[in-house]
Protein backbone atom coordinates (compact mmCIF):
# COMPACT_ATOMS: atom_id res chain seq x y z
CA UNK A 1 0.00 0.00 0.00
CA UNK A 2 1.44 3.35 -1.06
CA UNK A 3 1.41 5.84 1.78
CA UNK A 4 2.47 9.33 2.79
CA UNK A 5 4.87 11.09 0.48
CA UNK A 6 4.46 8.60 -2.36
CA UNK A 7 0.70 9.02 -2.30
CA UNK A 8 1.11 12.79 -2.16
CA UNK A 9 3.38 12.64 -5.23
CA UNK A 10 0.90 10.46 -7.10
CA UNK A 11 -1.96 12.81 -6.28
CA UNK A 12 0.13 15.81 -7.32
CA UNK A 13 0.76 13.99 -10.61
CA UNK A 14 -2.95 13.39 -11.01
CA UNK A 15 -3.61 17.07 -10.42
CA UNK A 16 -1.18 17.96 -13.19
CA UNK A 17 -2.99 15.55 -15.50
CA UNK A 18 -0.50 12.67 -15.54
CA UNK A 19 -2.24 9.55 -16.90
CA UNK A 20 0.32 7.25 -15.23
CA UNK A 21 -0.52 8.66 -11.81
CA UNK A 22 -4.23 8.09 -12.42
CA UNK A 23 -3.37 4.52 -13.41
CA UNK A 24 -1.58 4.07 -10.09
CA UNK A 25 -4.60 5.36 -8.20
CA UNK A 26 -6.86 2.97 -10.11
CA UNK A 27 -4.54 0.07 -9.26
CA UNK A 28 -4.38 1.09 -5.62
CA UNK A 29 -8.06 1.61 -4.95
CA UNK A 30 -10.07 -0.30 -7.54
CA UNK A 31 -10.23 -3.49 -5.51
CA UNK A 32 -11.53 -1.87 -2.35
CA UNK A 33 -13.92 0.44 -4.15
CA UNK A 34 -15.24 -2.43 -6.20
CA UNK A 35 -15.73 -4.48 -3.03
CA UNK A 36 -17.66 -1.59 -1.51
CA UNK A 37 -19.92 -1.26 -4.58
CA UNK A 38 -20.39 -4.98 -4.99
CA UNK A 39 -21.30 -5.63 -1.37
CA UNK A 40 -23.55 -2.57 -1.30
CA UNK A 41 -25.43 -3.34 -4.51
CA UNK A 42 -25.03 -7.10 -4.74
CA UNK A 43 -24.73 -6.82 -8.50
CA UNK A 44 -21.59 -7.21 -10.56
CA UNK A 45 -22.75 -5.25 -13.61
CA UNK A 46 -23.90 -2.32 -11.53
CA UNK A 47 -20.64 -2.43 -9.57
CA UNK A 48 -18.72 -2.28 -12.86
CA UNK A 49 -20.68 0.82 -13.87
CA UNK A 50 -20.30 2.49 -10.51
CA UNK A 51 -16.56 1.81 -10.39
CA UNK A 52 -16.11 3.36 -13.84
CA UNK A 53 -18.19 6.34 -12.79
CA UNK A 54 -16.10 6.74 -9.64
CA UNK A 55 -12.82 7.02 -11.53
CA UNK A 56 -14.29 9.35 -14.12
CA UNK A 57 -15.47 11.55 -11.25
CA UNK A 58 -12.01 11.30 -9.73
CA UNK A 59 -10.49 12.72 -12.91
CA UNK A 60 -13.03 15.53 -12.97
CA UNK A 61 -12.80 16.39 -9.29
CA UNK A 62 -9.14 15.84 -8.45
CA UNK A 63 -8.58 19.60 -8.62
CA UNK A 64 -10.96 20.07 -5.71
CA UNK A 65 -9.01 17.72 -3.43
CA UNK A 66 -7.34 20.05 -0.95
CA UNK A 67 -5.41 17.59 1.18
CA UNK A 68 -6.43 15.54 4.21
CA UNK A 69 -7.31 11.87 3.99
CA UNK A 70 -7.41 10.93 0.31
CA UNK A 71 -9.25 7.70 1.11
CA UNK A 72 -11.91 9.61 2.99
CA UNK A 73 -12.29 11.97 0.04
CA UNK A 74 -12.40 9.13 -2.51
CA UNK A 75 -14.91 7.07 -0.55
CA UNK A 76 -17.09 10.13 -0.05
CA UNK A 77 -17.34 10.33 -3.84
CA UNK A 78 -17.99 6.57 -3.96
CA UNK A 79 -20.72 6.90 -1.33
CA UNK A 80 -22.33 9.79 -3.24
CA UNK A 81 -22.28 7.72 -6.42
CA UNK A 82 -23.87 4.80 -4.61
CA UNK A 83 -26.62 7.03 -3.16
CA UNK A 84 -27.24 8.58 -6.59
CA UNK A 85 -27.60 5.04 -7.91
CA UNK A 86 -30.10 4.22 -5.16
CA UNK A 87 -32.12 7.33 -5.94
CA UNK A 88 -32.26 6.56 -9.65
CA UNK A 89 -33.20 2.98 -8.79
CA UNK A 90 -36.03 4.31 -6.62
CA UNK A 91 -37.26 6.47 -9.48
CA UNK A 92 -37.20 3.52 -11.86
CA UNK A 93 -38.98 1.39 -9.31
CA UNK A 94 -41.72 4.00 -8.94
CA UNK A 95 -42.12 4.19 -12.70
CA UNK A 96 -42.42 0.40 -12.87
CA UNK A 97 -44.92 0.36 -10.04
CA UNK A 98 -47.03 2.94 -11.82
CA UNK A 99 -46.95 1.00 -15.04
CA UNK A 100 -47.21 -2.55 -13.93
CA UNK A 101 -48.23 -2.25 -10.26
CA UNK A 102 -45.39 -4.58 -9.68
CA UNK A 103 -44.98 -5.26 -6.01
CA UNK A 104 -41.48 -5.51 -4.76
CA UNK A 105 -40.44 -6.70 -1.35
CA UNK A 106 -39.42 -4.15 1.26
CA UNK A 107 -35.91 -5.59 1.49
CA UNK A 108 -35.05 -6.75 -2.00
CA UNK A 109 -32.73 -9.64 -2.45
CA UNK A 110 -29.67 -8.68 -4.45
CA UNK A 111 -30.10 -9.31 -8.15
CA UNK A 112 -27.25 -11.07 -9.80
CA UNK A 113 -25.88 -10.97 -13.27
CA UNK A 114 -26.32 -14.06 -15.39
CA UNK A 115 -24.38 -17.05 -14.16
CA UNK A 116 -23.17 -15.26 -11.04
CA UNK A 117 -23.12 -17.19 -7.81
CA UNK A 118 -24.30 -15.47 -4.68
CA UNK A 119 -22.07 -16.06 -1.69
CA UNK A 120 -23.63 -16.51 1.68
CA UNK A 121 -22.46 -13.16 2.98
CA UNK A 122 -24.07 -11.37 0.05
CA UNK A 123 -27.38 -13.17 0.69
CA UNK A 124 -27.39 -12.10 4.33
CA UNK A 125 -26.28 -8.58 3.51
CA UNK A 126 -29.33 -8.37 1.26
CA UNK A 127 -31.48 -8.85 4.33
CA UNK A 128 -30.14 -5.71 5.96
CA UNK A 129 -31.59 -2.33 5.09
CA UNK A 130 -29.67 -0.44 2.42
CA UNK A 131 -28.34 2.25 4.71
CA UNK A 132 -26.95 -0.22 7.24
CA UNK A 133 -25.49 -2.39 4.51
CA UNK A 134 -23.77 0.59 2.94
CA UNK A 135 -22.49 1.79 6.32
CA UNK A 136 -20.91 -1.58 7.10
CA UNK A 137 -19.33 -1.79 3.68
CA UNK A 138 -18.06 1.75 3.87
CA UNK A 139 -16.39 0.98 7.17
CA UNK A 140 -14.95 -2.29 5.98
CA UNK A 141 -13.69 -1.27 2.55
CA UNK A 142 -12.78 2.36 3.07
CA UNK A 143 -10.93 1.50 6.29
CA UNK A 144 -11.92 4.89 7.63
CA UNK A 145 -12.05 5.56 11.35
CA UNK A 146 -15.43 6.15 12.96
CA UNK A 147 -14.51 9.79 13.38
CA UNK A 148 -13.93 10.14 9.62
CA UNK A 149 -17.10 8.21 8.84
CA UNK A 150 -19.17 10.37 11.17
CA UNK A 151 -17.75 13.49 9.51
CA UNK A 152 -18.51 12.08 6.09
CA UNK A 153 -22.09 11.30 7.08
CA UNK A 154 -22.51 14.58 8.97
CA UNK A 155 -23.73 12.86 12.09
CA UNK A 156 -22.42 12.47 15.64
CA UNK A 157 -19.85 9.73 16.09
CA UNK A 158 -22.09 8.01 18.68
CA UNK A 159 -24.87 7.70 16.07
CA UNK A 160 -22.49 6.12 13.55
CA UNK A 161 -21.20 3.73 16.20
CA UNK A 162 -24.70 2.74 17.31
CA UNK A 163 -25.92 2.16 13.73
CA UNK A 164 -22.84 0.16 12.92
CA UNK A 165 -23.16 -1.93 16.04
CA UNK A 166 -26.81 -2.74 15.38
CA UNK A 167 -26.02 -3.63 11.78
CA UNK A 168 -23.03 -5.81 12.57
CA UNK A 169 -24.88 -7.57 15.36
CA UNK A 170 -27.75 -8.34 13.04
CA UNK A 171 -25.38 -9.51 10.30
CA UNK A 172 -23.59 -11.73 12.78
CA UNK A 173 -26.88 -13.28 13.89
CA UNK A 174 -27.93 -13.83 10.27
CA UNK A 175 -24.62 -15.43 9.39
CA UNK A 176 -24.66 -17.68 12.42
CA UNK A 177 -28.32 -18.56 12.09
Amino acid sequence: MVQGDDLARIIAGCKSGDAQCFSRVVDMYSSRCYGYFYRSTGNKDISDELLSELFVKLVEKIGSYKGGSFESWLFRIASNIFHDHLRSKQRRKKLLENRQEQAESEIPEPRQSDGELVDRLQSQLGRLDKETRELIMLRYYSQLSFKEMAQMRSEPIGTTLAKMHRGLKKLRLLMEG
Binding site: G17, A19, F22, S23, V26, D27, S30, S31, R32, Y34, G35, Y38, R39, K44, S47, D48, L51, S52, F55, V56, V59, E60, G63, D119, R120, L121, Q122, I136, R139, Y140, Y141, Q143, L144, S145, F146, K147, E148, I157, G158, L161, A162, M164, H165, L168, K169, L171, R172, M175
Partner: protein, 171 residues
Protein backbone atom coordinates in the same frame (compact mmCIF):
# COMPACT_ATOMS: atom_id res chain seq x y z
CA UNK B 1 -8.47 -5.46 6.15
CA UNK B 2 -8.53 -4.11 9.66
CA UNK B 3 -6.37 -1.01 9.58
CA UNK B 4 -9.06 1.59 10.27
CA UNK B 5 -6.68 4.38 11.07
CA UNK B 6 -5.09 4.97 14.42
CA UNK B 7 -8.31 4.79 16.44
CA UNK B 8 -8.62 2.71 19.56
CA UNK B 9 -12.02 1.10 19.21
CA UNK B 10 -12.15 -0.12 22.79
CA UNK B 11 -11.50 3.37 24.09
CA UNK B 12 -14.00 4.86 21.64
CA UNK B 13 -16.75 2.41 22.64
CA UNK B 14 -15.91 3.10 26.30
CA UNK B 15 -16.94 6.73 25.76
CA UNK B 16 -20.47 5.72 24.78
CA UNK B 17 -21.15 2.47 26.65
CA UNK B 18 -20.42 1.06 30.07
CA UNK B 19 -17.55 -1.40 30.36
CA UNK B 20 -19.70 -4.54 29.84
CA UNK B 21 -21.57 -3.13 26.83
CA UNK B 22 -18.34 -1.83 25.31
CA UNK B 23 -16.76 -5.28 25.53
CA UNK B 24 -19.87 -6.87 23.99
CA UNK B 25 -19.85 -4.27 21.19
CA UNK B 26 -16.19 -4.85 20.54
CA UNK B 27 -16.82 -8.57 20.32
CA UNK B 28 -19.66 -7.98 17.80
CA UNK B 29 -17.43 -5.71 15.73
CA UNK B 30 -14.53 -8.13 15.66
CA UNK B 31 -16.69 -11.14 14.89
CA UNK B 32 -18.52 -9.36 12.07
CA UNK B 33 -15.23 -8.22 10.56
CA UNK B 34 -13.98 -11.79 10.74
CA UNK B 35 -17.09 -12.89 8.82
CA UNK B 36 -16.51 -10.20 6.21
CA UNK B 37 -12.91 -11.28 5.78
CA UNK B 38 -14.01 -14.88 5.35
CA UNK B 39 -16.06 -13.96 2.27
CA UNK B 40 -14.05 -11.47 0.25
CA UNK B 41 -15.87 -9.61 -2.51
CA UNK B 42 -14.89 -10.51 -6.08
CA UNK B 43 -12.12 -8.49 -7.68
CA UNK B 44 -12.92 -6.21 -10.62
CA UNK B 45 -12.19 -7.75 -14.04
CA UNK B 46 -8.89 -6.84 -15.64
CA UNK B 47 -10.82 -5.79 -18.71
CA UNK B 48 -12.87 -3.38 -16.62
CA UNK B 49 -9.71 -1.85 -15.13
CA UNK B 50 -8.16 -1.54 -18.60
CA UNK B 51 -11.32 0.17 -19.86
CA UNK B 52 -11.33 2.57 -16.93
CA UNK B 53 -7.70 3.51 -17.58
CA UNK B 54 -8.42 4.01 -21.27
CA UNK B 55 -11.39 6.22 -20.45
CA UNK B 56 -9.27 8.29 -18.07
CA UNK B 57 -6.60 8.74 -20.75
CA UNK B 58 -9.31 9.82 -23.19
CA UNK B 59 -10.77 12.37 -20.78
CA UNK B 60 -7.51 13.86 -19.56
CA UNK B 61 -6.97 16.34 -22.45
CA UNK B 62 -10.47 17.71 -21.88
CA UNK B 63 -9.85 17.99 -18.14
CA UNK B 64 -6.46 19.62 -18.73
CA UNK B 65 -8.06 22.17 -21.05
CA UNK B 66 -10.76 22.89 -18.46
CA UNK B 67 -8.14 23.22 -15.73
CA UNK B 68 -6.16 25.61 -17.92
CA UNK B 69 -9.27 27.67 -18.61
CA UNK B 70 -10.17 27.74 -14.91
CA UNK B 71 -6.64 28.86 -13.97
CA UNK B 72 -6.78 31.52 -16.66
CA UNK B 73 -10.03 32.84 -15.23
CA UNK B 74 -8.61 32.74 -11.73
CA UNK B 75 -5.54 34.67 -12.85
CA UNK B 76 -7.71 37.15 -14.73
CA UNK B 77 -9.78 37.58 -11.57
CA UNK B 78 -6.68 38.16 -9.46
CA UNK B 79 -5.31 40.62 -12.03
CA UNK B 80 -8.63 42.48 -12.07
CA UNK B 81 -8.68 42.62 -8.26
CA UNK B 82 -5.12 43.98 -8.19
CA UNK B 83 -6.00 46.57 -10.84
CA UNK B 84 -9.07 47.70 -8.88
CA UNK B 85 -7.10 47.90 -5.63
CA UNK B 86 -4.31 49.87 -7.33
CA UNK B 87 -6.84 52.25 -8.85
CA UNK B 88 -8.53 52.76 -5.49
CA UNK B 89 -5.11 53.31 -3.89
CA UNK B 90 -4.12 55.90 -6.51
CA UNK B 91 -7.47 57.65 -6.19
CA UNK B 92 -7.17 57.79 -2.42
CA UNK B 93 -3.65 59.23 -2.61
CA UNK B 94 -4.94 61.99 -4.91
CA UNK B 95 -8.25 62.41 -3.16
CA UNK B 96 -9.32 66.06 -3.73
CA UNK B 97 -11.42 65.98 -0.56
CA UNK B 98 -8.42 65.04 1.54
CA UNK B 99 -6.25 67.65 -0.16
CA UNK B 100 -8.94 70.31 0.31
CA UNK B 101 -8.96 69.48 4.00
CA UNK B 102 -5.21 69.91 4.14
CA UNK B 103 -5.27 73.37 2.57
CA UNK B 104 -8.28 74.42 4.58
CA UNK B 105 -6.23 74.08 7.73
CA UNK B 106 -3.69 76.61 6.38
CA UNK B 107 -5.88 79.12 4.60
CA UNK B 108 -7.85 81.46 6.83
CA UNK B 109 -11.59 80.76 6.95
CA UNK B 110 -12.38 84.29 5.78
CA UNK B 111 -10.48 83.71 2.55
CA UNK B 112 -11.71 80.15 2.27
CA UNK B 113 -15.34 81.13 2.55
CA UNK B 114 -14.97 84.37 0.58
CA UNK B 115 -16.44 84.63 -2.91
CA UNK B 116 -14.32 87.62 -3.88
CA UNK B 117 -11.62 85.78 -5.74
CA UNK B 118 -9.77 88.90 -6.99
CA UNK B 119 -9.43 90.35 -3.48
CA UNK B 120 -8.39 86.97 -2.06
CA UNK B 121 -5.73 86.58 -4.72
CA UNK B 122 -4.34 90.01 -3.89
CA UNK B 123 -4.27 89.14 -0.17
CA UNK B 124 -2.53 85.87 -0.87
CA UNK B 125 0.02 87.59 -3.13
CA UNK B 126 0.73 90.12 -0.40
CA UNK B 127 0.97 87.35 2.19
CA UNK B 128 3.38 85.40 0.01
CA UNK B 129 5.57 88.46 -0.64
CA UNK B 130 5.75 89.20 3.07
CA UNK B 131 6.68 85.61 3.82
CA UNK B 132 9.44 85.80 1.20
CA UNK B 133 10.68 89.02 2.71
CA UNK B 134 10.76 87.53 6.21
CA UNK B 135 12.54 84.47 4.87
CA UNK B 136 15.24 86.69 3.34
CA UNK B 137 15.63 88.61 6.57
CA UNK B 138 15.92 85.36 8.52
CA UNK B 139 18.59 84.10 6.17
CA UNK B 140 20.48 87.39 6.47
CA UNK B 141 20.34 87.14 10.27
CA UNK B 142 21.51 83.55 10.24
CA UNK B 143 24.45 84.34 7.94
CA UNK B 144 25.46 87.35 10.08
CA UNK B 145 25.04 89.77 7.18
CA UNK B 146 22.90 92.10 9.29
CA UNK B 147 25.22 94.97 10.24
CA UNK B 148 22.86 96.58 12.73
CA UNK B 149 21.78 95.71 16.24
CA UNK B 150 20.97 91.98 16.20
CA UNK B 151 18.60 92.00 19.17
CA UNK B 152 16.73 94.94 17.69
CA UNK B 153 16.42 93.22 14.32
CA UNK B 154 15.03 90.03 15.83
CA UNK B 155 12.52 92.00 17.95
CA UNK B 156 11.54 93.98 14.90
CA UNK B 157 11.13 90.79 12.90
CA UNK B 158 8.97 89.22 15.59
CA UNK B 159 6.76 92.30 15.68
CA UNK B 160 6.45 92.15 11.93
CA UNK B 161 5.47 88.47 12.05
CA UNK B 162 2.82 89.08 14.72
CA UNK B 163 1.42 91.94 12.68
CA UNK B 164 1.25 89.85 9.49
CA UNK B 165 -0.32 86.94 11.29
CA UNK B 166 -2.90 89.15 12.93
CA UNK B 167 -3.79 90.93 9.67
CA UNK B 168 -3.87 87.73 7.73
CA UNK B 169 -6.14 85.77 10.09
CA UNK B 170 -8.48 88.72 10.24
CA UNK B 171 -8.74 88.30 6.48
Amino acid sequence: MDRHGPENLRELLGRFFDAGQAESCLDDFQEAERLLRQDPAPEPDEMLIANIKAEIAMRLPVVRAETFRRRLWEMAGIAAAIAVLTLVGVRLSHDPVRQTGYYASLIPTAIWESTNIAADDADLALFTTEIEQIKDEMLALESGRDAGDSDGSVAELEMELIQISSDFWKG
